[in-house]
């Protein structure tokens, strides 16, 4: 009997609770979305490798063999561009047939070219001993597992990517786990020969950024690999400096699906403006990034050396900090300058021009860091040239461009006419990192009105689209 009343009483209270709940739910403000889960849980390795690590390694390759003993599938990294420095076969706009392009065979306007300069360039190769074309890309033991996975913080790669003598391989091997920010930044923050040279939006400040420097890594504790997932060691993400299409790319909308802004007018921008445009109001906020590199000034012993202004071996530089991006239409694909392409040395050659325009419905206005400079070219054949700078007889030792060109001609198998010069070039670096907090995002007046950061006419608009309307 008592049970029955208890039951009725409970039901009764339940009905009231529902009524109250509905009333509150109808009136109460919506609860804020739960914060993103902390990613710090992976700061500790899920498995302590110390007990299974041998007491001594003969060579770095021995470490790799040891890794492969338990993780044979890890050898799949050898299919990736981190190992090959070449991408999949693609059609490069303006070129016939399909080509495999990558760091291995492309020119840039920083340290110019890998081939012939492997000694220092391949310090950042995820492998051991890439010295010249004889390097065996099929030999799994040459893969450098540690550079991405070690957490001791003591692992230093030297010439040709071989760890320096002093490196404690055992300590490094014992510490392995999911790649940390520092693993990625070790190469990606220092590409081009120094801190923040290449990317405007990746430098070592991302190891421990403040919220407004990078909201994902600062506020939410993201690791690089939270976005750049690596199923089967195929690391996701697309570097526009060495690729021409956006396969394996990562988009903001992969996570921020169906996002609506508080103001509907902002949403109307989304079809023409990339997320990054507003949410990365500036780049290189904390550490400067290189904006200008003039190789033609190199070799002047009389000038004062300053790593941010002038180096005899490299020429003249300019750095920028807390810089306002430049904006271009970009549909995710680009053109690419390939070795041997003719140039007009009187004009600026874009090594990787972003494709898309106001008439391209897939294109959006993107923020770019544009790295400009002057780099060596063959004045007889009118193409950009891959001289040898490093090594015993390279330019950095001899300060003789002619001999550097001749060495480069051999290394890259490209004819040299005997005449050289310096041509203006630029490289486009779309910005996707260093996303700031929403409070710092661009607001209307940053782009519209009299003080606009957009050059509307250059983007193809008649005038400020707030007055003349956006594209249809």
């Amino acid at each position: 009997m008592t049970k029955k009343y208890l039951l009725i009483g409970t039901l009764f209270l339940a009905v009231f609770a529902v009524v109250v709940g509905v009333a509150v739910a109808l009136q109460g403000e919506k609860a804020p979305p739960a914060p993103a889960p902390a990613f710090s849980r992976r700061l500790r390795p899920h498995f302590d490798h110390a007990p299974v690590t041998p007491a001594k390694f003969e060579s770095p390759q021995a470490v790799t063999r040891s890794c492969l003993g338990c993780h044979p599938d890890a050898a799949h990294i050898m299919r990736s561009s981190h190992w090959q420095w070449l991408g999949d076969e693609v059609v490069v706009p303006g070129h016939d047939g399909k080509t495999r392009i990558g760091k291995k065979n492309l020119l840039n306007n920083f340290c110019l070219v890998n081939r012939g300069n492997e000694k220092t360039c391949t310090k950042c190769h995820a492998g051991y001993g890439w010295a010249d074309d004889t390097f065996d890309f099929t030999k799994a033991e040459n893969v450098d597992c540690l550079v991405c996975h070690e957490r001791s913080g003591t692992y230093v790669k030297g010439m040709y990517g071989i760890p320096t003598k002093e490196t404690d391989l055992v300590a490094a091997a014992r510490s392995v786990g999911t790649p940390q920010r520092e693993n990625c930044l070790g190469c990606h923050a220092y590409g081009g020969g120094g801190q923040g040279v290449k990317h405007g939006d990746i430098d070592s400040s991302l190891a421990h950024p403040f919220d407004e420097e990078d909201v994902h890594m600062g506020r939410h504790g993201f690791l690089c690999v939270d976005c750049h997932k690596a199923p089967d060691h195929q690391i996701q993400g697309r570097a526009f400096s060495v690729g021409v299409e956006d396969s394996h790319g990562i988009a903001c909308t992969d996570c921020h699906q169906g996002h609506k802004h508080a103001d509907a007018r902002v949403d109307t921008h989304v079809k023409s403006v990339a997320c990054q445009t507003c949410h990365i109001p500036e780049f290189a906020g904390k550490l400067p990034t290189k904006a200008w590199w003039d190789w033609s000034k190199a070799g002047d012993a009389s000038r004062k050396e300053d790593p941010h202004g002038y180096l005899k071996i490299k020429g003249e530089f300019a750095y920028e900090q807390a810089a306002v991006p430049e904006y271009r239409w970009f549909n995710g694909t680009g053109g690419r300058y390939l070795l041997g392409d003719r140039i007009d040395p009187t004009k600026v050659t874009a090594l990787n021009p972003p494709l898309g325009g106001i008439d391209d419905p897939k294109a959006k206005i993107w923020p770019f860091k544009i790295h400009r400079g002057k780099q060596p070219y063959d004045a007889g054949f009118n193409y950009l040239f891959p001289p040898v700078t490093g090594g015993k007889d390279g330019y950095w030792t001899t300060f003789d461009w002619d001999s550097a060109f001749r060495l480069g001609s051999e290394a890259s198998k490209i004819p040299y006419s005997g005449k050289y010069g310096f041509a203006p070039t630029e490289m486009y670096w779309p910005l996707s990192h260093m996303v700031s907090t929403k409070e710092k995002a661009l607001a209307c007046t940053d782009c519209h009105g009299e003080r606009s950061r957009m050059d509307w006419k250059a983007l193809g608009y008649a005038a400020d689209p707030i007055k003349t309307g956006g594209r249809p």
Binding site: F12, A23, L26, G28, E439, A443, C444, G449
Partner: protein, 750 residues
């Protein structure tokens, strides 16, 4: 010394010139003319009236403008030309004496043009800070009315990025002015009324009139633009009913409140309390006292802490002609006036009377320097005695001013500019719906009275300053307001008190609480003398059917919820059980449950004849009632059995009377008044037909107290059964002990 210097350098560097107006490709090139109509080659000779008047109807504009003397004498150039200055130099003129195309930077007035007189209006790019002229000698016509009057700084910049020291700055990520941030400039709301490009705003205008052929053509408009500018209020563009879903009584709030009550509730610009131009500071400006600026001696206004301004809420006639409660700031402005011709004494003359060389004149210092430190401090710089006033008056007379007197005006500046985003809007209900709310704030009118004169309140103003202006302890004046009233004689739930009903209700509640405490205490004290064993047998009888128990407990729960939420509404802010909107929502929902439950119960009682229990049996009613009273007053203490009820009735006569009153008077009263209070939000006309909330709310309030009183009594009487928990158990199980002497069991006081 280095700090002011550094700040000065900073100011120079930090305020870049406002972006220049673009070249107007349409405006014809023209030759600047002088007053005689002759071509001129310098800007000094030029007459704007003649030059612009060559095409535009200068006479019409002069006759149709708000910007005319004596309040303001703005010229065409000041408002329509970039930088308020035509650039006439020989190299800008062609052979015919016409300005070249590049010099035609003429167009619709931009924010910077308006700002030149009205206040601090800043462009993108410049971090917000107050220019040196803000504190210095007043430039001609520059009133700073937006900033000093309203605390508004019109800038698109985020407040957190400005250079000012704002309280809680790090969290102020909203822009200074959301309209400026979204490129809505001054003329968007203050446009020429006869512009064919504009109808009278989005709302309320007739759509077909946008293409009305009878409107002026653009050409006609350009000749004769009406310079009595529109004053669009928020509702011209925004429909408040499309937002504010969170707000209970949305219609009501929108009807009686100006949007700015919530959306300009805490301006962060320096708002003045008093602009005393009868005195001159050492830097040559009038003495300005701010309401929301906390500065240490020697601080510039840029380094002083600025707090949110808490405006005065008053009744105001809005631009659409409707009276609403609106926030204003009161500024008393004092100046010297020559009584001979009634004209203001120019401030430059006043400055000459005060200053000699680089600082205050020695005679002035000796008269005002109370602490004898050789200089006039901020607190000393005031004409608060006849002696000081006479001294300056004498010095003014010496400068040729006839019969100078101090005159003060009290200006009420409605807060309408510098509206930030919705995140900065007032969302705290208890800001108004609480006893100590901003609706009845006292407001300092003047902290002292220059020349001993009170400021003259505005004449024919659209603002109603309810309350009394009384002397303040510091020797100034303060606007004192009725603690329990609200502007516009509104009845504000949670704020307005219903003095006598509230008191009567509370007294009733208190006396019953006291009564049952004494009664219960006595019963407890005398429990040994009472032999209740003889009338509480082990026998039980089924007295309450299933449905009776269901509706009783439903009523009980809804009643308790209504009382709790009602108290929450009544004393907003005192009990932080839940937010006001939640309390109102729950109260309304449970009121509906109670009414439905009541009607179902009535139906049950009518159809099952159980209603008989509630109808007193006339025969012997008085005697039985007396018997019961006697029992409660005496017998109960000695363990006597309950007196008998009338045959076949569960309720005793006292209960019957109580329930008759409860069900026939209190219930309908609460339901009707409650519905009317609810209707105030939806159909205000219905409630106002019976006197509005002023009458309805106190009645509901009294009813609520009586309910609470009944509740206390009821709960107490439950304990007077054969055993203290007997009645309670019976209402749960339905079974009740039978009286020992075989009398009919008395029903619980249900």
């Amino acid at each position: 010394m280095s700090r002011p210097l550094a700040i000065a350098v900073f100011l120079v560097l930090a305020v870049p010139a406002a972006a220049q107006q673009g070249v107007n490709p349409i405006h014809p090139v023209f030759a600047p003319l002088d007053a005689a109509g002759k071509k001129v080659r310098t800007v000094e000779e030029m007459s704007a009236e003649k030059t612009c008047g060559a095409c535009h109807d200068a006479a019409y504009i002069a006759a149709h403008t708000d910007h005319k003397a004596p309040r303001a004498a703005a010229t065409c150039i000041q408002c329509h030309v970039s930088g308020a200055r035509l650039d006439i130099r020989p190299e800008r003129l062609d052979a015919e004496g016409k300005l070249t195309r590049e010099s035609i930077r003429i167009g619709t007035p931009r924010a910077a043009n308006c700002a030149a007189c009205h206040g601090l209006v800043l462009d993108v790019g410049a971090p917000v800070l107050l220019p040196a002229s803000f504190e210095g000698a007043p430039a001609s016509g520059r009133t700073w009315s937006l900033t000093r009057g309203e605390g508004a700084i019109v800038a698109p910049q985020r407040m957190a990025d400005s250079f000012l020291d704002l309280e809680g700055k790090e969290s102020l990520s909203a822009p200074w002015d959301v309209h400026a941030a979204k490129l809505v400039d001054c003329v968007a709301c203050h446009y020429a009324r006869n512009s064919p490009a504009r109808t009278d705003g989005k709302q309320g205008s007739l759509r077909y009139l946008t293409a009305d052929p009878r409107r002026q053509t653009q050409a006609e408009f350009l000749v004769r633009p009406d310079h009595r500018f529109a004053e669009q209020d928020c509702r011209a563009c925004h429909d408040p009913m499309k937002a504010h879903a969170f707000l209970p009584y949305r219609e009501r709030h929108m009807e009686v409140l100006s949007c700015t009550v919530c959306h300009a509730s805490a301006p962060m610009g320096p708002a003045a309390e008093m602009v005393d131009a009868t005195v001159v500071t050492a830097v040559g400006g009038p003495s300005v006292r701010y309401r929301n600026v906390e500065r240490r001696a020697g601080d510039t206004i840029n380094t002083a802490t600025i707090r949110p301004l808490r405006p005065l809420l008053v009744e105001r006639v809005e631009s659409d002609g409707v009276r609403r409660v609106a926030p204003v700031n009161l500024v008393s402005r004092y100046r010297w006036v020559s009584r001979a011709d009634g004209a203001d004494v120019p401030f430059e003359t006043v400055a000459r009377a005060w200053l000699t060389g680089g600082g205050h004149a020695p005679e002035v210092v000796s008269a005002l320097d109370a602490d004898r430190d050789g200089r006039i401090d901020e607190a000393e710089l005031r004409l608060d005695t006849a002696h000081k006033t006479d001294l300056i008056a004498a010095r003014l007379r010496a400068l040729g001013i006839e019969d100078p007197v101090v005159v003060g005006n009290l200006d009420a500046h409605p807060l309408a500019h510098g509206i930030s985003t919705r995140d900065r809007a007032l969302k705290n209900c208890s800001a108004c719906h609480a006893e100590d709310s901003r609706l009845s704030d006292d407001y300092l009118v003047a902290s002292y009275l220059p020349g001993g004169r009170p400021p003259r309140p505005p004449e024919g103003a659209r603002v109603v300053l309810a309350g009394t202006i009384a002397p303040s302890p510091t020797g100034g004046l303060v606007l004192q307001r009725d603690r329990e009233a609200a502007p516009g004689s509104l009845h504000v739930l949670g704020h307005s008190r219903q003095a006598w009903t509230n008191r009567i209700g509370f007294l009733a509640f208190l006396s019953v609480l006291l009564g049952v405490t004494v009664h219960g205490g006595l019963r407890y004290a005398l429990r040994r003398k009472r032999g209740h064993v003889e009338h509480a047998t082990g026998e039980k009888e089924y007295v309450f059917g299933r449905y009776e128990r269901l509706w009783h407990w439903t009523m009980a729960v809804t009643g308790i919820v209504l009382i709790v939420t009602g108290l929450e509404v009544h004393g907003t802010g005192k009990w932080a059980l839940m937010s006001l909107p939640t309390a109102v929502a729950i109260h309304n929902a449970f009121a509906v449950i109670l009414v439905v439950n009541g009607f179902l119960a009535l139906f049950y009682h009518l159809t099952t004849a159980a209603i008989r229990n509630f109808i007193p049996h006339p025969r012997g009613f008085v005697a039985r009632a007396l018997e019961h009273m006697t029992y409660q007053a005496r017998g109960i203490f000695y363990g006597e059995s309950h007196p008998r009820n009338a045959a076949g009735q569960k309720l005793n006569p006292l209960q019957q009377v109580t329930y008759l009153a409860l069900l026939n008077v209190l219930f309908p009263l609460q339901i009707v008044t409650g519905a009317l209070i609810w209707a105030v939000g939806k159909w205000p006309a219905v409630a106002s037909a019976v006197g509005g909330l002023h009458h309805v709310a106190p009645v509901h309030n009294l009813g609520a107290w009586l309910f609470l009183t009944f509740f206390v009594l009821h709960v107490y009487l439950v304990s007077t059964g054969r055993t203290p928990t007997d009645h309670l158990k019976s209402m749960i199980t339905g079974y009740q002990h039978v009286e020992a002497d075989g009398t009919e069991p008395e029903g619980a006081e249900s």
